[in-house]
């Protein structure tokens, strides 16, 4: 019997992947395909829930790079932006919003989980604006792998006391006030993309210098 026939994984993956992407609770952030800056949904705006979660009005997640006219490239960027929104939805909900599980794997999933753990206690949350700028696709490989770069400005994004709103410190570790985010993405069988690996380089480092 041939290995191909014996190995069940292809079928397994196809089945499970389709389950994940076709789930009724699929994460659907609004505006992430728009060429205009994308902001997290505001309270009271119908249809901008993220799996039952609404971004608070004092949180803004900005994507400032115009969308590509090429649908294939736009889909790659959309996969990245969905990951970002899912990350902050998870943080703001103290882990209750689990949409990130559909948009991140590998060490990107670990990154989300670490941030969720940092904000695990209900006493702290984030407030302000985090901007994802100069987002570009460094490469699309064989149509199913992609490398995306973005400069992240978290200088106006803060960790705050959830009760008083008083600033406790930066939302991310201090070295990540401004940094280069480099992600690897993979394509699902349904054509959507997810983030599989992630690396961050402070703007002060050699690798992150393009984000100074």
């Amino acid at each position: 019997m041939r290995v191909r026939r014996a190995l069940l994984a292809a079928g397994i993956l196809a089945g499970v992947a389709s389950c994940g992407s076709g789930s009724a609770t699929a994460f659907q952030p609004a505006g992430s395909l728009s060429s205009a800056p994308v902001q997290a949904p505001l309270p009271g705006q119908a249809g901008q829930r993220l799996g039952g979660f609404r971004f608070p009005s004092d949180v803004s997640i900005d994507f400032t790079t115009p969308a590509s006219a090429d649908p294939a490239r736009r889909a790659v960027i959309d996969g990245y932006q969905r990951y970002v929104l899912a990350l902050w939805a998870a943080v703001l909900s103290h882990g209750k919003n689990t949409a990130y599980q559909q948009h991140a794997t590998g060490n990107a999933l670990g990154f989300v989980r670490r941030e969720v753990a940092r904000y695990g206690a209900a006493g702290t949350t984030v407030k302000g604006t985090i901007a994802y700028q100069d987002t570009k696709i460094a490469g699309i490989y064989f149509g199913t792998g992609a490398n995306v770069l973005a400069c992240v400005d978290a200088s106006a994004f803060h960790q705050v006391n959830a009760q008083t709103g008083a600033t406790v410190g930066p939302a991310l570790p201090t070295r990540l006030t401004r940094y280069l985010e480099n992600v690897a993405e993979g394509k699902r069988s349904d054509g959507t993309w997810f983030v599989s690996r992630l690396a961050v380089y402070p703007a002060s480092s050699t690798q992150g210098a393009i984000c100074r």
């Binding site: 089945g15 199913t144 792998g145 993405e185």
Partner: protein, 350 residues
């Protein structure tokens, strides 16, 4: 029976995925530096490629350097390293079986549920057990382990190639195509890796009159260089092949050619510099083979002398193929250094 098992696994996996069960994947394997034997370096993941010689270990990780094909396919695990009792082990470095489990852990829908899929372990084990002890090799994607490009490339590669074992192939894999990176390792890929890591020696510029001392109009300035390393650097990238042989590509350089340029048009430049320029011979009035005579005094600050060493870089592999490296995309194989000199007008003495 097999269909029922597949259905059962799929359903369990789907349910587990919906429940959001967690399990972290094994860490990415990193090759250890080889012990001893001179400079050797590996910036590659899941790769047996070694680059030895006059190498610059940081070159491939540099955000400003040109990166060749970021991924490729190479033989990694022997048939005797297909499966071991107790597999899958939580290690990505051990054998073909472990490699499969590492890579499948990157699949988003499975990252958190692999351990809960009933029967999956047995099914996968069966595949690799069947090859245990065989005479062939498992071919796997390998990639440059700097940034995300290499990993992205490898991900795209394995999902495009449709291998019999998904992330591995026991037979020699199909080509990726002429315009795409990631095809099976060959001399050209090895040559690119060797070229990317080749360390051209920095140069230090010397002049007479020495730097910091003024020169005079119509007085020749002699120019020569020292190299902080071999004048003709060379390195070799190699990978073991399943038949016991080694495929390698060696990058060689010609002797450098030094040239001089100055920041002013009021100068006569001598560019018969050879590889090292011309040290001052003690004859102040002689014309140097390599140097410059300034014809006018410096204005607005000292004049700059730029010295460039230029090599021609070639490659050849163990099969007899060879060639050069086009620039661009490759950076020009040059090193440059500068020095400044303040040129004075000779004052007449009455």
């Amino acid at each position: 029976m097999r269909t029922r098992l597949l259905t059962s696994i799929t359903v369990v996996a789907a349910c587990a995925a919906a429940a959001g069960l967690g399990q972290s994947a094994p860490a990415l394997a990193q090759r250890a530096l080889p012990a001893g034997g001179g400079p050797a370096f590996s910036h590659f993941a899941y790769s047996q490629v070694q680059v030895t010689g006059d190498v610059n270990p940081g070159a491939l990780g540099s955000p400003t350097a040109y990166t060749p094909a970021p991924c490729w396919v190479e033989p990694r695990f022997t048939g005797t390293n297909s499966y071991h009792n107790g597999d899958p082990q939580p290690s990505a470095t051990g054998d073909a079986d472990s490699y499969w489990w590492w890579f499948v852990g990157q699949e988003p829908a499975l990252a958190g549920v692999l351990g809960r899929i009933q029967g999956l372990k047995q099914a996968v084990n069966k595949v690799f057990k069947a090859r245990q002890g065989g005479g062939g090799w498992w071919w796997v994607p390998s990639w440059i382990n700097a940034g995300m490009g290499g990993y992205s490339c490898a991900w795209g590669l394995v999902h495009m190639l449709n291998w019999s074992a998904q992330y591995l192939e026991y037979q020699f894999p199909q080509q990726g195509g002429p315009d795409t990176p990631g095809h099976p390792i060959n001399g050209r890929i090895l040559a690119d890796l060797a070229r990317a890591e080749l360390a051209l020696p920095a140069i230090k510029v010397f002049t007479s009159p020495a730097a910091g001392k003024p020169s005079d109009v119509n007085l020749p300035v002699w120019v020569w260089v020292d190299y902080a390393g071999p004048q003709q650097p060379t390195d070799t990238a190699s990978v073991p092949l399943p038949d016991g042989s080694t495929l390698s590509a060696t990058v060689t350089t010609t002797p450098p050619r030094v040239s001089v340029a100055v920041s002013t048009g009021s100068a006569r430049v001598y560019n018969n510099c050879g590889a090292t320029g011309s040290k001052y011979t003690g004859e102040a009035a002689a014309t140097p083979p390599c140097g410059v005579t300034f014809l006018a005094p410096s204005t607005g600050g000292p004049d700059t002398i730029t010295v460039t060493a230029r090599w021609t870089v070639r490659w050849s592999d163990s099969t007899g193929d060879g060639g050069t490296f086009a620039s661009p995309p490759w950076p020009a194989p040059v090193q440059a250094g500068t020095t400044t000199v303040t040129v004075r007008e000779i004052q007449a003495i009455n």
